[in-house]
């Protein structure tokens, strides 16, 4: 009995094996990277890294301005992307008439924008924000350009979340005499919060890891003072990029340490996303 079952199931076994190995590719690569970075950089994650400005001397170099700037950019990014992204998603899902050609064009464009390489946004930022609007090479310009970069992702995630709210909820609310405003603000949005939060935070993580557009709009590599919104800035990915290029070997360890800090920031953001999802999740 078992013998015949086994011989009949070999295809299933092979398939399962293939699936497992594709899982391993991602997992082993990630684990190897993490082990390498942590073992190289852990000794350099110390007080100096968080409190000192960068220096030509690896013994006293830190990344305080870069860490602060990355946190500032993160906060601005949330403030800019969430209202605009969620607003766009609500319009597209709840208000837009999908039979109209301009709404379909809008949708198509948003999908395409999500696939535009980040360096292109950098060039746009340089031409439009830094030089065109005369904003200059400041932290705000960096945050704005990253906003444009992650906005399509946030919109798509928020739309998915809104679409996942069962129509019966909306119909039920209408049946009780609710207006569209009441339906959206009291039923649809609260139900979509977990999905929107997860999507936004994952998009934010992506934005914080970006280097190319920030280099393009002229984030500098040596800033010894704490960043301000309208002042020159550097960011963690740029600090890492710069340290890797320097001749002294110790800077490679510092770069690894800065990667650990960046990973720490991203992982805690992801943790917040998971917590939000679990706290507000509803099942129908």
């Amino acid at each position: 009995m078992t013998l015949t079952r086994r011989s009949r199931d070999w295809r299933g076994g092979v398939f399962r094996g293939l699936l497992l190995s594709s899982l391993l590719v991602g997992f082993v690569t990630l684990a190897a990277l993490l082990v390498d970075v942590v073992s190289t950089g852990w000794g350099y994650v110390d007080g100096t890294l968080f409190t000192s400005p960068p220096s030509i001397d690896p013994a006293i170099a830190g990344a305080r301005p870069a860490i602060l700037a990355t946190i500032y950019i993160g906060i601005l990014l949330i403030l800019f992307t969430v209202p605009i992204g969620v607003g766009t998603a609500i319009y597209l899902e709840e208000y837009a008439n999908k039979k109209r050609w301009y709404n379909r064009l809008l949708e198509l464009n948003i999908q395409n924008l999500a696939a535009v390489p980040s360096i292109v946004y950098g060039i746009l930022g340089l031409a439009f924000l830094v030089r065109g609007l005369g904003l200059g090479r400041v932290l705000l310009a960096g945050a704005l350009i990253l906003t444009l970069l992650v906005l399509p992702t946030v919109i798509i995630a928020a739309r998915e979340a809104i679409r996942a709210v069962p129509d019966s909820i909306r119909q039920g609310a209408y049946a009780l005499g609710a207006t569209q405003w009441q339906v959206v603000s009291r039923q649809v949005l609260p139900s979509a919060v977990p999905g929107i939060a997860t999507g936004s935070i994952l998009a934010l993580s992506r934005g914080l890891g970006e280097t190319a557009p920030l280099i393009m709009i002229g984030a500098v590599t040596y800033v010894a003072f704490d960043p301000t919104i309208l002042g020159p800035f550097t960011a963690l990915p740029i600090q890492i990029y710069q340290w890797v290029r320097l001749p002294q070997e110790e800077f490679r360890y510092l770069a690894a340490a800065a990667i650990i800090v960046l990973l720490g920031i991203l992982l805690s953001l992801n943790a917040v996303a998971i917590w939000l999802r679990n706290r507000y999740q509803r099942r129908w």
């Binding site: 942590v38 030509i56 013994a59 943790a271």
Partner: protein, 317 residues
Amino acid sequence: MRASALTLLAALALAGCGSERESVDDGGGGETTAQSDLSGRVEADGSSTVGPYTTAAAERFRETNPDVRITVGVSGTGGGFERFCAGETDLSNASRAIKDEERALCERKGVEFVEFHIANDALTVVVNAENDWATCLTVDELKKVWEPGSKVDDWSQIRAGFPSERLRLFGAGTDSGTFDYFTDAINGEEGASRSDYSATEDDNVTVEGVSGNRGGMGYFGLSYFEQNREALKALEIDGGEGCVAPSVETAQSGEYTPLSRPLFIYAKTESFQRPEVEAFIGFILEHESEIAEAAQFVPLTDEQLEQARTGFEDATT
């Protein structure tokens, strides 16, 4: 899945056993120097080679002028001049002298500037540490390897008597001043180079490449060789008057030709009216050798320093 990844990370963090940072010998931290009340901003951009020099200078300057905010970018020598001539920066770092077309651009935009020769560097040609056949190459031999259209791909083609070993070339990317200077000195024309080599703006990639290939050859500033002495071997260069090894001494004395090069900071004349910019340049010229050493460059000779200081006085009076 995600939870296990987090646990893994935590376990790694606990088991992490990287090298610790050396204890800090805080030179001069104890004595308090009189602090100036200068404030304002100084913006520098340009060569990634000179970047560490300006950074080292800014760091030291900050000890006595904590309110002057100096920023340093590394857009490359060419990229730096582009911003400089657009009037966006006060100082432009350059690992070569300004080109005529850049000079013309600055003129068109009405940006006047003063050139300061602030340090020297010895462009070092490196080979693999196991390379026991080549110790010295002539400029002609280097040209044979690097000139445009060169088909040399084996060491035996460089000089009769060299063993047959596949030649692997690593060099500077075309945006860098290092590339401009090397091609000018070796191939006789700025920017003229064979293009089938691994070009990179990141000199550590060249270090990796040359130290990983028995037949590797590459070039970069002296500091990258100083930091990788075990993994690489520097070639002596024969510029017509015998073989000379790259070093601080030979670069200063001018014996190491044609690959010893001057490094520059260009300062916008208009910015000199701001006391913080003037003070910063003055500081650099006052502490030139100390800064050059910290950034691992070859300091100026007394004569060169004298010349730079005279230029500074002319510009400020």
